[in-house]
């Protein structure tokens, strides 16, 4: 209840700040607000875009839930996602099998590629002690170069040139209709992508597994006290490594879903911050899959709303600012409320700027 109230205030502040920025550039704040709304939830077309953005976010977040819980912090989703898309593209473009089978294989290939990429970090960590946060981050810079390379050589993924001396773009050919991921509905009607369906099913499966299965229990234990987990027979390198692998696999799957569900060709910019934002979704949802659904939807709405806002002529960068402010507005209040309620229940949090005893209360002589 109180959280809702603070959230409303915080969002109002974020919106206010954004509006000031918008009007500073000569735009109309009202129009901007309208655009945010129109682009995200006003009609079915807008919902389609929101849902389309939410699906990969949710998938990345699911993976991040797994690794966060196991206490292995993966922040390289951006690269894993991109590689997943690359692997998916390779399968989709090179395999001559019936469409649905190709789609399935391409999604699996995406997951495998993302998993292998993060799995490499796991191997580096458990064999050589390389810090996971840093290695996943560095691996993601490398992934971008790998994908750039793959779309600039014809024998890998670059789209064939129209003629021998024409310029080839740094991207793959478009996926043929037959190997695209089917969904329900078609823009501008409500479009529910296959990716979203997959993401939702996986969310439920994962929620059950994390909350109810031996695997989920052991994962939590590993994350909270690796020593106790080891005593209870948990092999950190195996369970933690596989958690890292899975988180990469989910990111890779997200990449493959973006590829075969909405972009239809591999481009080095395909990842489009979905990796980072997906991680953010998981963190905000405190690594709980079910909670990640609304958060992913919120982020999806922010994305679609923002891109609509951009299309009204508000400079793109401002849109990023607005989005960051809104994210903060949604993140701060629950945490604030939690911290404050903890403060009240335990009263162990001292006043933030405590003053020495002598100055707070004059010492009284009560002999």
């Amino acid at each position: 209840m109180q959280v809702t109230l603070i959230t409303i205030v915080a969002v109002a502040i974020a919106v206010g700040l954004s509006m000031i920025l918008v009007s500073a550039t000569g735009g109309s704040p009202i129009d901007a607000a309208k655009a945010l709304y129109t682009g995200s939830v006003a009609d079915v077309a807008a919902w389609s875009e929101t849902l389309k953005a939410a699906a990969p976010l949710l998938l990345v977040a699911l993976g991040a839930c797994i690794s966060n819980r196991a206490g292995v912090f993966n922040i390289g989703q951006e690269g894993q996602l991109l590689l997943g898309a690359a692997a998916g593209a390779y399968v989709a473009l090179h395999l001559a099998l019936p469409g649905p089978i190709v789609v399935l294989l391409s999604l699996l290939a995406g997951a495998a590629a993302g998993g292998i990429w993060s799995g490499a970090s796991a191997v580096m960590n458990y064999t050589r002690g390389v810090n996971i946060v840093v290695s996943t981050l560095l691996m993601s810079f490398i992934a971008i170069q790998v994908v750039s390379f793959s779309v600039s050589v014809p024998w890998l993924l670059q789209a064939p040139r129209a003629s021998a001396d024409s310029i080839a773009s740094p991207e793959s050919a478009q996926l043929p209709e037959a190997v695209r991921l089917m969904g329900f509905g078609q823009y501008p009607n409500l479009e529910i992508g296959g990716g979203l369906v997959i993401a939702l099913i996986l969310t439920i499966v994962l929620a059950v597994l994390l909350g109810r299965s031996r695997w989920g229990f052991r994962l939590n234990m590993l994350g909270l006290n690796p020593m106790a987990a080891r005593h209870a027979g948990v092999r950190a390198s195996y369970l933690g490594g596989s958690a890292l692998f899975l988180s990469g696999a989910f990111a890779g799957l997200a990449g493959a879903v973006i590829l075969s569900g909405s972009v239809f060709r591999l481009q080095p910019a395909l990842s489009n911050n979905f990796g980072w934002d997906g991680l953010l979704v998981a963190l905000i949802a405190r690594s709980r899959p079910i909670a990640a659904i609304p958060v992913a939807l919120l982020f999806g709405a922010l994305r679609s709303g923002s891109s609509f806002l951009a299309s009204t002529g508000v400079p793109n960068y401002l849109v990023d600012v607005v989005q960051s402010l809104l994210v903060l507005a949604f993140v701060v209040p629950p945490v604030l409320a939690r911290v404050r309620s903890r403060g009240r229940a335990e009263a162990t949090t001292p006043p933030s700027e405590p003053v020495p005893a002598a100055t707070t209360e004059p010492e009284k002589v009560t002999a």
């Binding site: 080891r230 005593h231 027979g233 948990v234 009284k364 002589v365």
Partner: protein, 534 residues
């Protein structure tokens, strides 16, 4: 003013520290309930109470670490506020905490100077450490890294840190639970020095009645957050104190050993008589040993040999005590048997079958239950619920192929909570919120509930109150009675005498001798502890 005071002269002078009606609640838990307490300069004041009675909380209120809900704090007759630990230092209050508050990666002198204002003057502080060390008989190297020190040495650092600030009121929260008998003895001498020579006030929290009887002048007993009893120490008896703590009569024969009741005014013969009561009737040679360690060598990361050709057998139904001074490889052995370490060489066999030590969890599977020395480190997951902690090592019991059966888990946990008298607000409370003693019970309950063939109990009564110790001893004996081989790793001779049928002595990572409990005299053990074969 306060009852239980006899010396009228002392009544005139305001107590060094006085608490009036201090109350502190954590949500529904009333940790301290209108506690009155007065401590005078020149006295050692004992504070007793069961696990979770609120002792630590009360002291934290004094130290500015927890803010009280109600009540007043008086320092030399003046009402004061203690909003922060710094304020407490300014008021001349110093505390040695129940759980170490040292930073392992820092050196001794850095730890000692931590939390003070002003420039870091290494040489000055080092000199002071040496000074304080010689003055009170607490030698320590100021440049040693705390992470490399033994528990006893760390305790010394804590005390030096506290004393160097020249506190007028010194609070020690269970300072002896990790000390050997000699170390405790030395500590009490230091404390006596501090109060008589320097006229300071000391609050000593302990579960060991013998210590309280021997070392304190006044004693206050807390029960469920409120003061149950207070008295001048000479006017009371251990039996009375035990009764006041628990709220009922306590059997004082074998449990007395651990409480230190016996050592105070009993002869060695009586100790042996008490030990003979132990229901341990096992012939170690007769059967395959349940636990057999042969030529085990463990090396540390830095190449130091921690266990050196270590060999030991424990028969089913036997309680074997591994006795020795802290820091001679007990922790390593505990880690080894908890499956946290791999030996460099040697074998560990359970019921005659060698355990593949490289396989994680193999020991546990083979039937080794462990009550580890440092439960926070490897025994429990503080952020998981009591329920989860009770079932976590053996999920097979409460799950199908993949999924847990929550209902069964609840049933099991509820049963264990009842059986082991674990006091917790609810089964779903995070373990973090239980008092130290109750956390220990959770570990024991879990490890015993899996029907192990070997139970390793490392310092199992550390931090436990009388009732809990009684309970713990009964359960260890009962386990042995059921045929479990119990390896008791301990630094307390009374515990050895009270429980074990055989005693092995560890020194510098090797077993220097194994004695039948009847042959174990203080002299022989002392020689073995010193590293000489008997």
């Amino acid at each position: 003013m306060t009852d239980g005071q006899t010396d009228s002269a002392r009544d005139l002078e305001a107590p060094a520290l006085e608490l009036r009606g201090v109350t502190k609640c954590f949500g529904p838990v009333v940790a301290c309930d209108a506690v009155d307490l007065a401590v005078r300069s020149g006295e050692i004041h004992g504070l007793l109470g069961e696990n979770g009675a609120g002792k630590s909380t009360l002291m934290k209120v004094l130290l500015g670490l927890v803010q009280r809900d109600e009540g007043t704090i008086m320092r030399s007759g003046k009402q004061v506020e203690v909003p922060t630990p710094q304020a407490a230092v300014e008021l001349g209050l110093g505390m040695v905490h129940q759980h170490f508050s040292l930073i392992e990666s820092l050196t001794v002198w850095e730890n000692v100077s931590l939390g003070e204002p002003g420039r870091v003057k290494r040489d000055e502080i080092a000199d002071q450490i040496k000074d304080v060390g010689t003055r009170y008989g607490l030698p320590i190297s100021p440049t040693a890294r705390v992470g490399d020190l033994s528990a006893g040495e760390r305790q010394r650092v804590e005390i030096i840190k506290c004393l160097r600030r020249d506190p007028e009121v010194l609070i020690l929260d269970e300072p002896t639970s990790v000390l050997t008998m000699n170390e405790s003895q030395e500590l009490f001498e230091v404390l006596r020095d501090v109060v008589t020579r320097e006229n300071r006030a000391v609050i000593l929290i302990s579960h060991k009645l013998a210590e309280i009887m021997a070392a304190t002048d006044q004693v206050t007993v807390l029960r469920k957050g409120s003061v149950a009893f207070r008295c001048a120490t000479p006017e009371t008896s251990p039996r009375e104190l035990a009764k006041q703590m628990v709220g009922r009569e306590v059997s004082l024969h074998s449990e007395g050993a651990a409480l230190g009741l016996i050592s105070e005014d009993t002869t060695p013969e009586e100790v042996q008589a008490a030990a003979a009561e132990a229901p341990v009737k096992a012939d170690p040679e007769a059967r395959t040993p349940a636990l057999a360690l042969t030529d085990v060598v463990v090396k540390g990361d830095d190449g130091r040999v921690l266990l050196d050709n270590f060999g030991l057998t424990v028969a089913p139904g036997e309680i074997l005590a591994l006795y020795g001074v802290e820091g001679n490889g007990q922790a390593t052995l505990g880690d080894l048997l908890s499956g946290l370490l791999e030996p460099t060489s040697g074998t560990v066999a359970i019921n005659g079958a060698a355990v593949p030590m490289t396989k994680i969890g193999a020991l546990h599977k083979a039937g080794v239950g462990v009550v580890p020395e440092d439960r926070h480190r490897s025994g429990v997951v503080l952020d998981m619920s009591v329920l989860d902690n009770l079932v976590m090592t053996d999920l097979g019991r409460v799950s199908g192929r993949f999924l847990l059966r929550r209902r069964e888990a609840r049933k099991l946990a509820t049963r264990l909570i009842e059986q082991f008298n674990i006091s917790t607000p609810s089964i779903d409370t995070p373990l973090r919120n239980l008092s130290g003693g109750n956390q220990q019970r959770v570990v024991l309950a879990r490890e015993l509930s899996t029907d192990p063939s070997v139970l390793v109990a490392a310092q199992p009564t550390h931090g436990l109150d009388v009732g809990a110790i009684e309970d713990m001893y009964e359960r260890l004996r009962a386990a042995a009675g059921r045929g479990v081989a119990v390896l008791l790793i301990t630094t307390e001779l009374e515990e050895v005498m009270a429980l074990a049928s055989r005693v092995a002595v560890i020194s510098s990572g090797r077993v220097t001798g194994v004695l039948d409990i009847h042959e174990a005299t203080a002299e022989r053990l002392g020689l073995l502890v010193g590293g000489e074969a008997a």
